[in-house]
Amino acid sequence: MVCPVPAAEWLRPPGHWRFCHARRRAARSAPPGALRAFLEAPMAPAGQPVAASRFLAVDLETTGLDPEQDRILSMGWVAMDGTRIDLATADHRLVRAEGPVPEASAVIHRITDQHAATGVPLDEALDALFRALAGRVMVAHHAALEIGFLEQACQRLYGIRPPLAIVDTLRLAETALRRAGQPIPAHGLRLHTLRARYNLPAYRAHDALFDAIAAGELFAALLSRQSPDGQLPLGRVLFRPAWLW
């Protein structure tokens, strides 16, 4: 779903005000630190062209798909200025496990118990992520997962659910394919399938950092088609749960 946000900055939709309001409220209840700094950083206006916007492509590796039950194993991110991905900002954190890593997910991520024990505590990892995220809009593939896990983690650690502005490359790609009248095959919206469609190289799957880079590159590829001149307003690529917009 592309949010129906008018192009002009002065025509902010009511959802935007609500969103900013929710951010300010969350900032007041957040403990001092990276999360609060992130929430206090001004939110880019919805009418700002994507080329002038700053993003952070993020990927979380988790033990499963349920934010209530499962937990974060590692996080990777890389900053994008417009559609330029800067490898100098590429970073990732392994999260120290509190329990054993389920075998099924260990096979996928190649993160074993021993490996996970070398990670940092979750709050430290979140701290690094939110520091990188300050002033930037998050980009992720299948963003609902990232939102769910980050909200859940913040709820547990800080007692708040931070409102996150996020670009979902899966939704963007889906819209683009539908608009082009192209059939979407089973698994056709998976990150690696979509990347092949846009002539992007195959990376080793399920490595948080490379999946973040992969999502960032896919976002750049999608934008190159949707808005070759980069003038598309940011609001048009944002994905939020319906209650916000």
Partner: protein, 608 residues
């Protein structure tokens, strides 16, 4: 920290151009890179940004100020642009992911790392900006300057020289290659000799035991060329040594990069049209023709690549399709017995005008002598059936408007044609305008031209005298959909398969074609080609020279754009069409295209 970006470092390790850099310097590199996605059709470098660029996926072209192809960069290729060029260096020909080391970071790295400074200073991998600035005489023979890298076959087959002659022959047969590179067992990856079809032939003629090692029959030592060697120099080297294959090696470390054959060079010269026509003439049945016609899309790509303009391309393609039609008819005549009387096979539409591209359909007709014996029509109906089906099977789609001789309206005796053409050209009903355009564009492809030419002559003479026909054709030219809407925006197709694209034929070319037809008819010209018609009309004063020049330029520009668009689609394995996505055009191209469309609109308003 570098372990994390392993995947990218591994890629850089494989880049031949970076090979001279020590591993530690390459590591320093990785973290300084930015990633950019360049869409096909956009210009390189984006925003004419200098620095070091490395192609991860996709392809781009480097062209000089004369738009001559200087280089084609693909995966792993690197280009160093030391200063911002005045204009872009060339188009991105396939969606590309590129790594970019911005100029300030290049300088920073060079200041910190002697090895990098050295690398940038001596190797200066392809210093392009200077080349772009220099105004050299345009060279017409691209073969002089195209690097062999752009023509060679990458990933050549390399085998151990201990292989038996028989095994070597089998490997060559399986890989469908005419030359096999061989290496000594202790140095894999480093070719020491070459075994070609000729060597095999000689070995058999001399009674060499096929179980003997291939090394006894191979040619060595090898004559090699660098990837950047101009193709012309490679050709000279082949001629001098009387060989047809050259291994191509990387400048940096001498490692094998590809193999260049004399066929690659010939293909680049654009002589393949000659081969295609020759093969069609020799074909024995429909299956052969179908096979040969598979090469037609590649021919268009080669023509575009070799810098042919739209006139040359469409004329060449039309010649190929004419030959195909002729050969199909000859095969039918052979199979169903000689024709009962004289006849001629006609083509109208783009084929009649010599303006076909690889994406075309059939507009054909039959004219039969008046002395046809009873029942002759069955023979011609069968011919029509087979030839149109044959053309369709060879990729020339059957006409959606039923303009083909399987339909009795398009298969008539000469006297009947004469009456029909008189009717349409002298007293055209409004809906006859379309028929008239077909009649005016018709051309004899095969058979007795004397049956049709006098009819066309007469039609042109009478048509030019009849206001009604001129008005009908002018009306048709005016009614074709306009390419530009308000605010000079492209009018895009708003539905169907090609939604949001621009139909270059319908909105760009056909309006010009239609105008040229009216003007030429008014001028009493026999010409069929659009450019020819416009020139003829200007000569006889029907339109002024400026209008003619403008329309010719517009036609050439749009037709060139279409030929390139289709070549791009073919290269990507898509089927070619006329639907261009204007978003993929550069600003300059877009503004040229708008100018071309504006000329068309202006001419329509003033001249019709």
């Amino acid at each position: 920290m570098n372990g994390e970006l392993e995947e990218i470092r591994e890629f850089l390790d494989r880049c031949p151009d970076l090979a001279p850099l020590p591993a530690a310097s390459r590591d320093a590199f990785v973290r300084q890179l930015t990633l950019r996605y360049l869409r096909e059709g956009s210009r390189f470098p984006p925003d004419t940004e200098p620095g070091l660029w490395i192609v991860r996926t996709g392809t781009l072209e480097i062209r000089d100020v004369h738009d001559t192809l200087r280089d084609r960069l693909g995966e792993g290729d690197l280009v160093h642009i030391p200063a911002a060029p005045e204009q872009s260096l060339g188009p991105v020909t396939e969606d590309a992911l590129v790594y970019h080391l911005p100029l300030d970071r290049v300088r920073e790295l060079a200041a910190r790392d002697g090895a990098i400074a050295q690398f940038l200073a001596d190797d200066a991998p392809r210093p392009l900006a200077s080349e772009h600035g220099a105004h050299e005489a345009p060279d017409h023979n691209r073969l002089l300057t195209t690097p062999v890298r752009a023509l060679m076959t990458s990933n050549p087959v390399l085998a151990a020289s201990t292989l038996s002659l028989r095994e070597a022959a089998r490997l060559m047969d399986r890989s469908d290659i005419s030359a096999l590179l061989l290496h000594t067992p202790d140095r894999p990856g480093e070719p020491c000799g070459i075994l070609t079809d000729t060597d095999l032939r000689r070995a058999i003629a001399n009674g060499v035991d096929p179980e003997q090692p291939a090394s006894r029959s191979m040619a060595h030592p090898l004559t090699t060329v660098h990837r950047g060697t101009p193709a012309f120099e490679a050709l000279l080297r082949m001629a001098r040594h009387d060989i047809h294959h050259l291994p191509v090696v990387h400048e940096a470390d001498g490692s094998l990069a590809g193999i260049l054959s004399s066929t690659d060079l010939i293909r680049h010269q654009g002589t393949s049209a000659i081969y295609l026509v020759r093969d069609l003439r020799r074909a024995d049945d429909l299956a052969d023709l179908k096979d040969i016609m598979q090469a037609l899309p590649r021919l268009q790509v080669q023509l575009v690549d070799s810098g042919a303009d739209a006139m040359q391309i469409t004329q060449t393609i039309t010649t190929v399709i004419d030959t195909l039609t002729q050969r199909l008819i000859e095969i039918c005549e052979r199979d169903q017995g000689s024709p009962p009387c004289a006849y001629a096979w006609l083509a109208s539409g783009s084929q009649g005008r010599h303006e076909q591209t690889v994406f075309t359909d059939q507009d054909t007709a039959l004219i039969i002598a008046d002395d046809a014996p009873e029942g002759a029509d069955d023979w011609f109906a069968a011919l029509a059936q087979k030839v149109t089906a044959g053309l369709d099977a060879c990729g020339i789609r059957a006409c959606p408007g039923d303009v083909d001789p399987t339909h009795p309206d398009w298969r008539r005796p000469a006297a009947d044609w004469a009456r029909e053409m008189d009717r349409v050209l002298q007293h055209p009903a409004p809906r006859d305008a379309m028929l008239a355009t077909h009649y005016l564009d018709m051309r004899v492809i095969h058979g007795d031209a004397a049956l049709f030419e006098p009819l066309r002559q007469r039609a042109l003479e009478t048509g030019a005298r009849h206001e009604a026909l001129l008005n009908a054709l002018a009306g048709q030219a005016r009614d074709l959909p306009a390419p530009l809407g308000f605010f000079r925006q492209f009018v895009l197709e708003d539905s169907g398969e090609h939604a949001d694209t621009l139909d270059l034929k319908m909105r760009g070319l056909l309006p010009i074609v239609a105008m040229a037809r009216v003007f030429a008819l008014h001028a009493g010209s026999e010409a069929r080609g659009t450019v020819e018609r416009l020139r003829a009309a200007a000569r006889s004063g029907v339109i002024n020279d400026t209008t003619a020049d403008n329309l010719v330029d517009a036609w050439l520009y749009i037709a060139n754009l279409r030929a390139r668009h289709q070549a791009r689609q073919i290269r990507k394995g898509q089927s070619p069409d006329n639907a261009l996505d204007p978003a993929g055009l550069s600003t300059l191209e877009r503004s040229h295209l708008k100018t071309a469309f504006r000329l068309v609109n202006d001419a329509r308003k003033t001249a019709l």
